[in-house]
């Protein structure tokens, strides 16, 4: 009797664990994550039931002394840019709120000083790094949705690569059935076309700062993502994790992403390299090259950069701590040993 109930309990537990590990189709997985994201977003917005005003001091060329009165918990730097002009809207990539990098669609919560960053500032380092990160996130989204439901795709933590390395990378672990698959030119072309369709749809990257349990719930079906959530939560100062949604794909990121996919202009997936067996299977590195709308390259220049982007990008441990070390990176750039070219 006790044995039978024990057996039933065991069966039920096995069945429940099988249900959680039962493969949802990728569309169902995406819609589940997206709906959980929307719920959390609505919950965070409902924390400000009454509209309270905050004062936002605009800083930047030609904007000194502009004071905007915005809504707390509702207005974003994007809405501040809408009050200024269309040029500010088109060119704004990232915002600096009291010196802190702030995604453009994240709501402002207190009175602050706001600077809108563009790609053509005197110091666009933050914007460049955010752009590189966003291109990698876009690549991750494309890879997640590119394969048929029979094959699993696990996106690993996107390595932080400096822009001078020539290509952004997305580390991925494909299904074991695809271990011997090397993509042909057409495969990379089709990935590029997927990415360019996403760019054409001009989807915004919606940021959300969540507590780790919520993030763990969103990524419930991916053990790899859950470890990444735990890692990020351990490293962050406030213990929260930043997740971004683009379309219906939810992704984690170590730093701020740019405002929308439409900012990218020239985008190409250049290569796929195998890194060897890792913790989760055969690690692959997919590399790409992209340039924003405001900084397009002539096709001759693009071809040369693209050829360089096909080579494997090594991620050194020092470049992995890039976001924490931006001042030292800038001093490395002004190294007198390197020749400055006009």
């Amino acid at each position: 009797m006790a044995c039978r109930t024990a057996c039933q309990m065991l069966q039920r537990r096995l069945a429940s664990s099988a249900a959680t590990s039962a493969r949802l189709s990728s569309a169902e997985l995406r819609s589940r994550r997206s709906s959980l994201f929307s719920e959390e977003q609505a919950r965070q917005r409902a924390l400000y039931p009454r509209i309270e005003k905050i004062e936002v001091q605009m800083q930047g060329p030609g904007l000194q002394g502009t004071l905007l009165v915005m809504n707390k918990g509702l207005s974003t730097p994007h809405s501040c840019a809408r009050h200024l002009s269309e040029w500010h809207l088109e060119s704004a990539v990232l915002a600096l709120v009291d010196g802190e990098a702030w995604p453009l669609h994240k709501p402002l919560t207190r009175s602050c000083a706001l600077t809108l960053l563009t790609f053509k500032d005197t110091n666009p380092l933050l914007a460049n790094q955010a752009y590189w990160r966003s291109c990698a996130a876009l690549l991750g989204q494309v890879l997640q949705n590119a394969f048929k439901d029979d094959f699993t795709v696990e996106l690993l933590k996107t390595p932080e690569v400096p822009v001078t390395s020539g290509a952004f990378c997305c580390d991925v672990v494909l299904d074991p059935q695809l271990d011997s698959w090397t993509p042909a030119e057409e495969a990379l072309h089709s990935l590029t076309r997927d990415a360019q369709q996403l760019i054409h749809r001009d989807l915004p990257w919606e940021p959300l700062e969540v507590a780790p349990p919520v993030a763990l719930d969103i990524f419930a079906h991916s053990r790899c993502k859950q470890t990444e959530v735990e890692e990020l939560a351990a490293h962050s100062t406030s213990g929260t994790v930043n997740i971004y949604r683009c379309g219906d794909h939810v992704t984690l990121s170590g730093g701020p992403l740019v405002a929308r996919t439409g900012l990218c202009m020239q985008y190409e997936v250049t290569a796929l390299h195998s890194l060897g067996q890792g913790a989760w299977g055969l690690h692959r590195r997919v590399q790409g090259l992209s340039l924003p709308q405001q900084l397009q390259a002539h096709h001759t220049v693009w071809r040369k950069l693209r050829k360089r982007a096909m080579k494997l990008v090594e991620v050194t441990p020092s470049s992995a701590n890039l976001t924490a070390e931006l001042p030292s990176e800038s001093s490395h750039l002004q190294d007198p040993a390197l020749p400055i070219h006009q």
Binding site: F119, P124, L125, T164, G166, L295, R308, Q342
Partner: protein, 165 residues
């Protein structure tokens, strides 16, 4: 039958008429040229600056002959009304342009004068003057995304070519 008088139509005539007559024109240009030699950058109407540019460059060509040359000294003496500028012309301006053969001056347009006449203004200067440049050289920002990618590309090329031989 010719119905028009050639003297009254100035089609194709390139010589400008300034002041009260040819002598007045030369005196005016002399004064402006003296001012240019003294200050090395002056602001006048566009037409006067255009006229003076020719004489300014010719004066430098004469000054290059040296102050022992009789003709050069006569020319400089005529054109510079303030005689303390003669040593400056021969000892400062002539050596400055000894390696150049032709263009010693820059002329740039300015906004029209605010008066009723709305005259077109220009600034005329001798090259090598101590003031900030009229056409500042715009350096491209080294830190933009595309320049950073190109920098990485150049460094890699240099590394590869350095390690090859």
């Amino acid at each position: 039958m010719r119905l028009t008088l050639r003297a009254l139509i100035s089609h194709g005539r390139v010589a400008r008429r300034m002041g009260l007559g040819p002598e007045s024109r030369i005196n005016m240009l002399r004064n402006i040229l003296t001012g240019l030699v003294r200050h090395e950058r002056i602001e006048t109407t566009w037409a006067r600056a255009d006229e003076v540019q020719f004489y300014a460059e010719k004066l430098i060509d004469y000054a290059k002959r040296g102050d022992t040359d009789e003709k050069a000294m006569q020319m400089a003496n005529f054109w510079l009304t303030e005689k303390d500028l003669l040593p400056k012309l021969f000892k400062v301006l002539a050596p400055r342009f000894e390696n150049q053969s032709k263009a010693y001056t820059y002329m740039a347009r300015l906004p029209n004068r605010e008066n009723l006449d709305r005259a077109a203004m220009a600034v005329l200067e001798y090259k090598g003057n101590p003031f900030p440049p009229l056409f500042p050289a715009k350096r491209e920002n080294e830190l933009t995304l595309i320049n950073q990618l190109l920098k990485g590309y150049r460094e890699e090329r240099a590394q590869l070519s350095g390690s090859k031989p």
